[in-house]
Symmetry: C2
Subunit: 189 residues, 2 copies
């Protein structure tokens, strides 16, 4: 049975244990074993807990066959930094990657709302308040994220419009990733 | 001569070419060859440019021996998502990693300013406006980033207080990373 690393800011939710349980249950329904970082039982209050959590997560990622990343924007224009790091790690380790986001708008639309973005007619690009270019490729996030999924997975980021109060709990996009992963396994069998 | 991949949101600066030139010049001064993503000459207006840029950056990272990542917070609480992805990729590919940030405050201090964070006395953790836990390990960013540098590099994130108007141009932290990398090479020789 293939193992899926479940990356996402879900671990920060007050009901993280319950979300992990639901994700692992869905994995089982599609013929996978889900690996949820919270299952590494580390006392976050202990000295050096951050490094221990890192090492446990990395070891879990190395054990996984593939990854499904929750790339919903988190505390800014982009996905959770921990999740994005793990996406890069999965790709570097040669694992297949899938990702979903619970908002449907493009990256540039979020940047326009967040910090303002204005068009630079001389260079024909969008710029933020620091005059730094804002990517406008119709992607959900930074091009490295969207393209990594296309180059190293089989599908672009799955976008689903979750209700605002279920932004981090809605598993519709997650289940679409699971279905795609299950189809890929069936096809290669 | 070892090659250093120069990751960072520097590529979004109006003077990206000049910053790349300065970084590569500093690399040479410390005995390294700097690889700057902008050196992949891709027309960003061409169809499918995002995927081509991704593939050129990934190929450049694979050619590199190590990476120095500009982890200055970008459009939110954390470092630039593209840079964080590349940090993960470097780690997955077994390259040594270094990183710097041009702000000195802890992650939690930024979260408190950005979106507000309040203390949950029942669970003894900090939470953001979505009730999601805010890490409080005294790190510069998400624990996966800080710990990756410690586990796979030789030094924690180098923090330097740049002047606000030189937030993305100040290369003091970058040069400290170069010095650390050069010392590591000398030691292993």
């Amino acid at each position: 049975m293939q193992k899926i690393y479940l990356a996402g800011p879900d671990v920060f939710l007050p009901d993280a244990v319950e979300i992990g349980r639901r994700k692992k249950e869905l994995c089982a329904r599609y013929g996978f074993e889900g690996l949820f970082p919270f299952d590494n039982e580390i006392d976050a209050k202990a000295a050096g807990a951050d490094k221990l959590i890192y090492q446990a997560n990395e070891a879990m990622i190395r054990r996984a066959d593939l990854g499904i990343c929750n790339l919903t924007p988190f505390r800014g224009a982009s996905a959770d930094a921990g999740t994005v790091f793990e996406l890069g790690l999965l790709v570097g380790l040669g694992k297949r990657v899938y990702g979903y986001t619970n908002v449907t708008e493009d990256y540039i639309a979020r940047c326009q709302k967040l910090g303002g973005a204005s068009f630079d007619p001389a260079r024909q690009v969008w710029r933020d308040a620091n005059a730094m270019t804002v990517e406008n490729f119709g992607n959900a996030d930074n091009l490295m994220i969207d393209s990594a999924l296309i180059v190293h997975g089989i599908h672009r980021i799955v976008r689903h419009a979750a209700a605002p109060e279920r932004l981090f709990q809605d598993l519709t996009g997650f289940e679409i990733c699971l279905r795609l992963a299950a189809e890929a396994v069936a096809k290669s069998a």
